[in-house]
């Protein structure tokens, strides 16, 4: 959904996501629209708060990139320590997913073929590709030449036909 306002600072969490979370948290409770709107905006503030604190913690450490550790410490220092257990659990799940993906892709890469062999196959494929490309270009060149020749011949016979035609005309005139 392209934003026509284009201002990055009008960013919020999508309303639908918030509505869904509210519904899951408070099933069977009606929630006024302006209350929902406020929750959306509170989320924005919350994200800024945590990011900012995590950023400061990161700056004080010797790292350049905010890490989950920094975020967890930020939660603690801002009074959201009660979130930490659940956050850590979910982080573990995330790492497991990432690990599985890496394993899966390396299994595909390996296929039991040693690296040198893979390199050799790679070189072969490149060479083949280059050859095919060269052949293709040659074909195109030949086709162009043929087309050019034909065009020349066509032009030549056309002019011959024209000459023949014009001398015919003269004869006719004479006969008349």
């Amino acid at each position: 959904m392209a934003s026509s306002s284009g201002n990055d600072d009008d960013l919020t969490i999508p309303r639908a996501a918030i509505n869904k979370m509210i519904k899951e948290t408070l099933p069977n409770v009606r929630v006024a629209n302006d209350a929902r709107e406020l929750v959306v905006n509170c989320c924005t503030e919350f994200i800024h708060l945590i990011s900012s604190e995590a950023n400061e913690i990161c700056n004080k450490s010797d790292k350049k990139t905010i890490s989950p550790e920094h975020v967890i410490n930020a939660l603690e220092s801002l009074g959201f320590g009660s979130y930490i257990t659940e956050v850590k659990d979910v982080l573990q799940e995330c790492k497991t997913v990432a690990l599985k993906r890496r394993k899966a892709s390396s299994r595909l890469e390996n296929l039991g073929i040693p690296e040198e062999e893979l390199l050799r196959q790679q070189q072969e494929l490149f060479a083949k590709a280059r050859q095919q490309q060269a052949e293709l270009e040659q074909q195109e060149w030949l086709q162009m030449q043929q087309a050019a020749q034909q065009a020349q011949m066509a032009a030549a016979s056309a002019s011959v036909a024209q000459q023949a035609g014009s001398s015919q005309d003269e004869d006719e005139e004479d006969e008349m």
Binding site: A32, D34, L38, C42, S51, I66, S67, C94, R101, S106
Partner: protein, 128 residues
């Protein structure tokens, strides 16, 4: 099949070994100035573990010029913390609605919760 393996070989040299830390460094989120292209999705595969769009969270973080690079996993856990935050504030506000014997949660219930709870002090003055 061999082609896939060979193609993968080309890219495999870019990958760091198993340590989560280095993978995160590779895929850090660019924030603030520099304005480079984002270095890939936040925590690929983990987006289905989150109820909130990680890209949006990432963008929100980036909109603060002071915030430096953040790892994918950091974005992910901030998303998770935000979910918990919504749960918490909704439940707290409900208490006030119930006190007022109402079945509909209204904005003033949230306002009351914000005022009453220390951790929510940062929300005072949050406008619509």
């Amino acid at each position: 099949m061999a082609a896939a393996a060979v193609a993968a070989l080309v890219s495999s040299t870019e990958q760091e070994p198993d340590r989560c830390g280095s993978e995160e460094e590779n895929r850090g989120v660019e924030a603030g100035d520099g304005g480079q292209q984002p270095a890939g999705p936040a925590a690929p595969g983990c987006s289905r573990l989150s109820k909130l769009p990680l890209a949006r969270i990432k963008a929100l973080m980036k909109s603060d010029p002071d915030v430096s690079l953040a790892s994918q996993e950091s974005v992910f856990i901030i998303a998770k913390a935000t979910e918990l935050f919504v749960e918490m504030i909704a439940k707290d506000a409900l208490v006030y609605a119930q006190q007022g014997k109402r079945k509909t949660l209204q904005r003033k219930d949230l306002d009351n919760a914000i005022e009453a709870i220390d951790e929510f002090a940062f929300l005072e003055g949050t406008l619509d």
